[in-house]
């Protein structure tokens, strides 16, 4: 089995994996980072969104070996100690979740948007969330949370 090495949430990690291991399985099963969820497993729902070299990707549709040498950030890597990331805080304050299953992916996707666009319009936020599906909230509070976070960042 090949050995894959990458930086995850600022820490160098290395492990033997089967070639077919998906990045999401590597994060969850090898590293125990279970904040990244597997929803549809068909690259539609966005529950598995993480950042690879700063860009949001669906980790269920990327092999762990493709992330060799990459810098990966998961939901666990956003907060600094006890201090939540502004997007996490905004999701809590604006009740941007109900069951919470889609939330890690929503937050990671939103962070990527706000890195690329400081003050997105409501329409731009909704368009950006094309690849993140939430079956509880109807999206309204998620969009409000992202708008609030944009103001706070």
């Amino acid at each position: 089995m090949p050995t894959v090495s990458m930086t995850v949430n600022g820490k160098a990690v290395s492990a033997e994996v089967e070639e077919r291991t998906l990045l999401v399985s590597f994060l969850r099963d090898s590293l125990g980072l279970t904040g990244t969820h597997v929803g549809c497993d068909t690259s539609q729902c966005g529950a598995c969104v993480v950042h690879v070299n700063g860009d949001s990707v669906k980790s269920c549709t990327m092999l762990a070996v493709q992330a060799e040498g990459a810098n990966v950030t998961t939901i666990e890597g956003l907060a600094s100690g006890e201090e939540l990331h502004p997007v996490q805080k905004a999701f809590r304050e604006h009740h941007g979740l109900q069951c919470g299953f889609c939330t890690p992916g929503m937050v990671m996707s939103a962070v990527d948007l706000l890195q690329k666009k400081k003050s997105p319009s409501e329409a731009e936020i909704r368009e950006w969330l094309e690849g993140n599906i939430c079956r509880c909230t109807g999206y309204h509070n998620i969009v409000k949370a992202i708008q609030a976070a944009a103001g706070a960042m």
Binding site: R20, S56, V57, L63, Q66
Partner: protein, 264 residues
């Protein structure tokens, strides 16, 4: 997903050698189609040759008559490229509306056209803009490249390295996306080029095609009204749960008019 041997070459030559040595090798570009296909066990390659570490295959440059886009350039890079926006804004706009942001961060132009999905967006741009496909062996004109459903002129062991797009006088792409997948139910790319008006249709038939009837109507009068009263023949168009051939034929006319109206 069945397991496979994984290769991560750092040059096109190494990739070609790895592909030649494999019994059932497949090239891995962004993986947005291949990996889901492998998960469903609809593909079972013996070897995956990952093109992701070949620096030469990424990036966009301005050429004498347009832009050259490396095969491993992502949709997101094309959508945000100053060079593409300046030379062919319609192409940047097309890339910006493929799939969703995460798919655009991984999916590549080379992967898209090599796969030649009947409903993919890029084939319409490549064909309408009269682009040239560069491979490790030769250059292929767009008119000769797309040969059938999921079929191209690529030979065994041939690797797309870049696509060169000449700058058109005017161009635009209009698509009617499937509301769930965002694939084109019908997409029409219109371009006024040095060699005349070219119109390519994706999503409607088993393979992207040029709509000669629309091209002729627009040749003398490049305006939406030139397409008034035009009836598109529905024979040979796709029929599935999403749309009938007749509806797709109707959409071709509507999307063509919208594209002409938007052309810049």
């Amino acid at each position: 997903m069945y397991n496979f041997a994984y290769h991560r070459p750092s040059s096109v030559a190494e990739a070609a050698a790895a592909l030649a040595a494999a019994s059932e090798g497949k090239l891995l570009a962004g993986g947005m189609t291949l990996l889901p296909t492998m998960k469903q066990r609809l593909a079972q390659p013996s070897d995956l040759i990952d093109l992701g570490a070949i620096a030469d295959m990424k990036g966009i440059s301005t050429t004498g008559d347009g832009v050259r886009i490396g095969a491993m350039t992502t949709h997101a890079s094309v959508a945000s490229s100053a060079e593409v926006k300046a030379a062919i804004p319609a192409l940047a706009h097309l890339a910006e509306n493929i799939g969703d942001p995460q798919v655009r961060n991984r999916g590549t132009i080379g992967g898209s056209i090599a796969n030649n999905d009947p409903a993919a967006d890029y084939p319409a741009a490549v064909l309408a803009l009269d682009a040239t496909i560069q491979t490790n062996k030769r250059t292929i004109a767009a008119d000769d490249f797309f040969t059938g459903m999921f079929e191209t002129a690529l030979e065994e062991g041939e690797i797309i390295t870049a696509v060169s797009f000449p700058k058109p006088q005017k161009a635009a792409y209009a698509k009617f996306p499937n509301p769930a997948s965002r694939y084109a139910l019908v997409g029409v790319f219109v371009a006024q080029t040095a060699s005349g008006v070219r119109v390519a249709v994706t999503g409607a038939a088993p393979c992207v095609f040029r709509a000669s009837q629309i091209e002729q109507a627009l040749a003398g009068n490049f305006s939406p009204s030139a397409l008034d009263g035009l009836t598109i023949d529905s024979s040979g168009l796709n029929s599935d749960i999403h749309a009938s051939p007749e509806y797709r034929a109707h959409l071709i006319g509507v999307m063509a008019k919208r594209a002409v109206a938007a052309a810049a």
